[in-house]
């Protein structure tokens, strides 16, 4: 499974801002709304426990939003056709 963690909307995101400034400097135009978050990949026996894991440890709900997505089966497997996330 994958847990995608991103800074909550409206929170100062200096990493996102730095990347947003860096891309045009390299000639990539038309980039906006860049936010840098975190991807947590994990195998869990009971995915129903994931929201509790997120609320208790993986995410600080005061400053971060999260999204749970099915991940690729395993690293190195033939998962080329599998969408990375919903």
């Amino acid at each position: 499974m994958r847990v995608l963690v991103r800074p909550k909307a409206g929170i100062l995101d200096p990493q996102g801002q730095a990347v947003e400034r860096a891309l045009p400097a390299l000639g990539f135009d038309g980039v906006s709304q860049v936010h840098v978050g975190r991807l947590i990949e994990l195998e869990v026996a009971d995915p129903a426990q994931l929201p509790a894991m997120c609320e208790k440890l993986l995410v600080n709900p005061l400053i971060e939003d999260y999204e749970i997505a099915p991940g690729e089966a395993a690293a190195g497997s033939d998962g080329a056709d599998t969408p990375a996330s919903r």
Binding site: L12, P14, L57, N60, L62, I63
Partner: protein, 223 residues
């Protein structure tokens, strides 16, 4: 009167914190894997990089056996001072309002800062004068205090902000220049700058001692 200073794997300021406490009272280091607070009268959660600061600053330390005891101690009204990483841990533990975000500049900053005392009628600041400036070093990468609007308004209305960066000195982007914030009950306080590094004239300022002396005096007054 005795302070207990916590030590996690990755803590690095516990010895300075212990030495600072020893200038005003007794002090003992407490190990993160123990649950016993050994009868100390006040707790200092010092700075460093507890558990490598993996995942988020303070996120893992918050669940250590010793922290469970500290949370109970705090809920019973015991005085707890969190410095830098200790402040981050106390926020993660829900003992203090808000959270610490990366500095606005994304850079590690180490400098002497002036902190304005907002309130001098608390157990952490009673040795100060209201409006006094304390010269204390700050050194961190993740010190931008943040709280959602409603929580921030509540914190201000309750007078929980004890220290703010003096005008022009807010280098990390903290909301409303907040440098140190207290819980609503008034027995838990956290700040990003390091009072334990400002206790000897040799290093330029002894202003940090006032926070440790305040805690000692308020405990002495209650005995």
């Amino acid at each position: 009167m005795k302070f207990g200073v916590l030590r996690f794997p990755g803590t690095c300021d516990e010895v300075d914190a212990q030495l600072a406490c020893e200038r005003v009272a007794g002090a003992e280091i407490l190990w993160h894997g123990d649950r016993d607070l050994k009868g100390v009268d006040a707790i200092v959660v010092p700075g460093g990089f507890s558990y490598g600061d993996y995942l988020r600053v303070g996120a893992i330390a918050r669940f250590s056996p010793l922290m469970e005891s500290v949370i109970d101690f705090a809920k019973q009204g015991g005085p707890v001072l969190g410095i830098c990483n200790g402040f981050q841990i106390l926020c993660e533990a829900g003992l203090l309002p808000g959270a610490l975000l990366p500095n606005r500049t994304l850079r590690f900053v180490c400098r002497q800062v002036d902190l304005r005392v907002e309130r001098a009628d608390t157990i952490f600041t009673n040795a100060c004068e209201p409006g006094e400036l304390l010269s204390i070093p700050a050194k961190h990468t993740t010190g931008c205090w943040y709280a959602p609007k409603e929580l921030h308004e509540q914190v201000e209305a309750n007078g929980q902000v004890l220290l703010r960066y003096a005008e022009g000195g807010n280098f990390n982007g903290s909301l409303a220049d907040v440098a140190g914030v207290m819980n609503e009950a008034g027995n838990v306080f956290g700040l990003m700058p390091h009072p334990e590094h400002a206790v000897d004239p040799l290093t330029g300022s002894t202003d940090g001692l006032k926070l440790f002396a305040s805690i000692r005096d308020s405990i002495a007054a209650h005995v």
